[in-house]
């Protein structure tokens, strides 16, 4: 869908290779497509029976094989729900999710589900709670080998685990393989998580804020490992983050979500340099950017993230938008084409 126009900026050769994988992009091989997907969660309390949380509304995008799409948004914007719907931890309330051009059925048999999970894997946000504290690293990483029948015999599995640990930079593997999660630092645990994800050689990896719980100094190494593995194995990422600069570092394409809806989607250059939607502009001006100098414009904003139980009528951003007009509160703006591959949900 989206092709990077100018690569003049990318100095290092490796980067050029990562960012512009020509054979893969010319084919337009769509691996994942979401068509008007909604996800509503019912609330069952006495007072608000029948009310729903609009976690995801009218989310559509498509992703070519070998590309990285970053979904950026504040907490409660529905970005994690999107990942969970794609990974089938949640089933969407309406709309269609197409994987390799086949729509995912609402109900899957156990066999189909395992086959799908082998292709689409997730990296979770919290490295401290996503590893079972009573199991050793060897035991945790042996699960995918057993479930997906990737290797037979204890020795073969152990060798496979060691290979994985080397790939994610936990060297020498003998030092880590028999440890428990609490003996590892946050960064090392996240590497184990990544190793578990990549053990099945998935086609699609959904990374839900993989660096947000880590210290600044180790975030880059986790991001670099993900980029290196992607380059080696040529897989596709959906990278979820709240950090616009991190999204630009990782991804060719960026989707900006707000209150359950995609507000702007396009290539990283288009979204960041030719920002169209007022919400993206707000996010951009709020992000720390010391290289822009110490003088910066004051933020123009009011209000808070809206309640998703009773989302604002019309455009969900209009109560906070400095450019809001009458029409904004009346109807939900449709996705409109701004430029080739650059879409925004705004009447402006």
């Amino acid at each position: 869908m989206m092709v990077i126009k100018s690569l003049a900026n990318y100095t290092e050769k490796k980067w050029v290779r990562i960012m512009n994988n020509p054979e893969k992009q010319t084919k337009e091989d769509v691996i994942l497509q979401l068509k008007h997907v909604n996800k509503h969660f019912p609330i069952h309390t006495f007072r608000s029976y029948g009310a729903v949380v609009h976690a995801m509304d009218d989310v559509s995008f498509q992703l070519n094989r070998g590309e990285i799409l970053a979904i950026v948004g504040e907490s409660g914007s529905g970005k994690t729900t999107t990942a969970n719907v794609i990974s089938r931890l949640y089933i969407q309330t309406a709309g269609e999710v197409l994987f390799e051009k086949e729509p995912l059925p609402e109900k899957m048999t156990k066999k189909e589900e395992i086959a799908y999970r082998k292709k689409a894997q997730m990296i979770f946000q919290d490295p401290f709670s996503s590893l079972n504290p009573t199991h050793t690293i060897a035991s945790i990483l042996s699960r995918p080998f057993v479930i997906h029948k990737l290797a037979k015999g204890k020795r073969a599995i152990r060798e496979g685990i060691k290979d994985l640990l080397i790939q994610v930079g936990l060297e020498p593997p003998d030092q880590f393989i028999d440890k428990f999660p609490h003996e590892l630092s946050g960064g090392q645990r996240q590497r184990v998580n990544i190793a578990r994800t990549f053990s099945v050689n998935p086609e699609l990896v959904l990374a839900d804020e993989p660096t947000s719980m880590l210290d600044v100094s180790i975030r880059m190494s986790i991001m670099n490992i993900m980029l290196d593995l992607k380059e080696q194995k040529g897989m596709t990422y959906v990278y979820i983050t709240h950090d616009l600069a991190g999204a630009r570092y990782m991804a060719q394409n960026i989707a900006v979500m707000y209150a359950g809806m995609i507000m702007e989607i396009g290539s990283a250059t288009q979204v960041i340099n030719e920002t169209y939607h007022p919400y993206t502009k707000l996010l951009k001006s709020a992000a720390p950017a010391p290289e822009m100098g110490l003088k910066r414009k004051k933020l123009i904003t009011k209000g808070d993230i809206p309640s998703l139980v009773n989302p604002p009528s019309g455009c969900r951003f209009h109560p906070r938008c400095p450019y809001a007009q009458d029409i904004c509160s009346k109807e939900i703006p449709q996705m409109k084409k701004v430029d080739e591959g650059h879409y925004a949900r705004c009447v402006l």
């Binding site: 616009l244 600069a245 960041i272 720390p288 950017a289």
Partner: protein, 331 residues
């Protein structure tokens, strides 16, 4: 009392603080010295476990249980806080220095109205009538952009950003000279974080108090601070004007930190971050504590801790690389 330079609100000298545990003493703050002028905004940056929160608690004299100040002085105006008893400390705390805590979301009492919690701080220190205290509480709420009608609200009725602003209002209610902020915006979203920081800066200009702002987010600190201190494994390894530290980082660790956050503008470069992890403070490595992770480490680094070297403009660094290039700091 030690002589104190004019205009200095806070002067810390050779402060050592940490925690006594079964297997020894964890020196979370080791030999830290710096001073802070009136109205100055000092940012302290470092990874988790580098001792930045312990430093904040030591300045507040709040280390409890197994935590203690081992040696050194913390001089606030004319008083050495480190030597005060709890009773004496209670008179100073919140009047002369106050703190905004890390988990501000949980720092408010959930069963008390925010107004009551604000006036509590007043009644503990001043003999004011209820109406006057109430008026003052409403005034500080308005200062942080919360309508005074919310005086009777309970914490759960407020959003995360508003709770954080109530905490800031509470820290300012007795007009202290120094406010310590320990990661006040870490749990918040970027947009909310930005509005709160703008608020803090505006209030600071208005009331001219000093701020110590602690965070791991160096990119944020560079924008908002006057002075910047970089902490690693209990020691301040670099100290200077924020602009100087950003444009010309001297210590290899600072350079590494600068290379740890991607930029929003300009060309995309592959960035490295810092390999390895911080040392165990129970048995810190001999010599420079960063040496095991440092790409530029020399033999001498592993043997002795570097002295503090100072550049002409007051930019200080503790690194052997500058042994011959710069003069020693004799303060």
């Amino acid at each position: 009392m030690m002589d104190m330079e004019k205009n200095n609100v806070l002067q810390i000298k050779e402060l050592k603080a940490g925690y006594e545990i079964k297997s020894g003493f964890v020196g979370a703050v080791d030999d830290v010295s710096f001073s802070l002028k009136k109205g100055e905004f000092l940012g302290i940056a470092g990874e988790s476990g580098c001792g930045k929160s312990t430093l904040a608690y030591a300045i507040m004299n709040l280390l409890r249980d197994n935590g203690c100040i081992q040696s050194g002085t913390v001089q606030l105006n004319d008083v050495n806080i480190a030597s005060l008893s709890e009773v004496e400390m209670k008179k100073i705390r919140w009047v002369d220095l106050s703190m905004v805590f890390q988990s501000a979301m949980n720092a408010l009492n959930p069963v008390l109205k925010i107004g009551e919690q604000l006036t509590d701080a007043i009644f503990a220190h001043q003999d004011l009538s209820r109406t006057k205290a109430q008026a003052r509480a409403k005034e500080v709420l308005e200062l942080v952009d919360i309508s005074s009608e919310r005086y009777d609200a309970y914490p759960h009725q407020l959003s995360g950003g508003m709770k954080q602003r109530v905490m800031i209002a509470m820290a300012l209610i007795l007009q202290p000279d120094l406010v310590i902020m320990d990661e006040p915006t870490t749990a918040l979203d970027v947009v909310v974080q930005r509005t709160i920081i703008e608020k803090i800066q505006e209030l600071q200009r208005q009331f001219d108090f000093s701020v110590i702002f602690i965070t791991h987010d160096l990119s944020l600190l560079v924008e908002i601070s006057d002075k910047l201190a970089i902490m690693y494994a209990g020691k301040i390894i670099e100290f200077g004007n924020a602009h100087d530290v950003f444009t010309d980082p001297l210590h290899p660790y600072t350079e590494g930190l600068m290379a740890s956050f991607p930029a929003l503008t300009g060309p995309i470069k592959r960035m490295g971050g810092i390999e390895g992890k911080p040392p165990d403070l129970l048995n810190p490595p001999e010599g420079c504590r960063f040496a095991p992770r440092c790409q530029k480490a020399m033999d001498i680094c592993r043997r002795e801790y570097p002295k503090e070297y100072v550049k002409n403009d007051g930019h200080k660094v503790s690194c052997q690389l500058y042994r011959e290039k710069m003069g020693e700091n004799h303060e």
